[in-house]
Symmetry: C2
Subunit: 218 residues, 2 copies
DNA sequence: TTATTATTTTTGGCTAACCAAAAAATTAAT
DNA sequence: ATTAATTTTTTGGTTAGCCAAAAATAATAA
């Protein structure tokens, strides 16, 4: 049985390699997992032994196909739980991530299946992130980061990549919620801050915020 | 933070001491927790340090009031989850215990509160066991073990104390389900086996089975 | 191309949970 | 009261995960 620790490593490697199995280095992992680099060195060695990653000394780590399969499964559990907590239990989208961080480690296929069914087998979680299916397949979408949006174009907000409570509260205040339609009014030359129209109101957004908002081109 | 291991010890001590803080010995704990007695000795020493139990060498262990409070809370989480799995997700009552064994360790008060609310703050789980409230109070009931039933009397099945899949399957087959009304037809002198009427059908039950069925006097 | 900085690895050590085997204590049987 | 059986404790040892400090590599800047 894979331990909770191993699962957290796999999931983190998956996220850091952006799905496409880019090489991940120890420092990144240490930062995300809140351990020191020495600990990561040990861990990735063991994951290599288990054939869940390929670890090349002093270079980096990437998931094997079986590691990737496992990671996708953890991501699925995490996002199913997030959706469930939000849609069925009435938790706010800023609360679900933390709880799902624990629930994701409960390994019971039937449980996840029942949860998913009850939700109508959703393909996206409350943050707009795709939920891998039982086989690990992820539904593609023509989403972009708002930082890549073009002037005058219209978009629909589909999700966020920063799940911090602070950020989510900020979005809610400006009614920049999932499903909201927006139009890009101006993009500042000198700092790339964006002004957009949302619910008839004008909102100005920093480049950093725009980087964390996922939108669909309309 | 109390570890999963500590929580399992507290819960097991609670169950073995039947709520009323009877002394529990190492052998019993070792058997239930599937570890060797030496491991239990170490563990109860630590629990004593933490002031969660009173451990008297070579004699036994009992919960302190803070240990008891904690145990009640774990039992509450366990039974809320069992009820939720059965009532909201459609799991069979023979499936829920195993899953709840894991879910019970997720410590998030708001989560349990939401689950409980959604269920209408139930006082009994699908096995008929009482669910302690937030303060640890358990609702009393005039339940008896079927092995204590009297001839000609009528009862309503309220729960079971043996949660094994085999036993629950057996009960289901004979329609001895929660809520069923029964009448005691005969009690054999020589082996205490019981014949009862349930759903117009006659069912014969071993003393061992009767010991594990909880019923309410009608 | 050195020198400086950042990252990675090694080494030694720690704690929580476990087990096996032997010794000690308790309980039950004769 | 002895003996035998059971339970408990002690001692020594293991593994998973972690950290701190030092040594080795790799990357960047001068
Ligand atoms: Mn999340
Ligand atoms: Mn996690
Ligand atoms: Mn149970
Ligand atoms: Mn448990």
């Amino acid at each position: 049985m894979q331990s909770e620790t191993i699962e957290n490593y796999l999931k983190t490697i998956y996220h850091l390699s952006a799905g496409n199995s880019t090489i991940v280095n120890n420092k990144q992992l240490a930062d995300k997992l809140k351990v020191i680099p020495a600990t990561v060195t040990e861990a990735v060695k063991k994951l290599h032994e288990l054939k869940l990653v390929i670890y090349e000394k002093s270079y980096g780590t990437r998931l094997t196909s079986s590691g990737s399969k496992m990671a996708l499964n953890i991501v699925r559990r995490h996002r199913i739980w997030e959706t469930y907590l939000a849609n069925e239990l009435g938790f706010g989208w800023d609360e679900v991530h933390e709880i799902a961080e624990e629930l994701e480690h409960i390994k019971n296929d039937k449980l996840i299946k029942k949860l998913s069914e009850k939700l109508g087998n959703p393909s996206f979680d409350p943050h707009g992130d795709p939920i891998p299916d039982e086989k690990g397949k992820i539904q593609k979408s023509n989403f972009i980061k708002l930082s890549e949006a073009k002037l005058k174009n219209s978009y629909k907000i589909m999700g966020v990549t920063d799940h911090s409570t602070a950020f989510l509260k900020y979005l809610e205040k400006h009614q920049l919620i999932i499903g909201a339609s927006i139009n890009i009014k101006t993009i500042e030359e000198f700092d790339n801050s964006i002004t957009l129209i949302c619910q008839k109101k004008e909102v100005s957004i920093s480049p950093k915020a725009a980087e964390s908002i996922i939108a669909e081109t309309l």
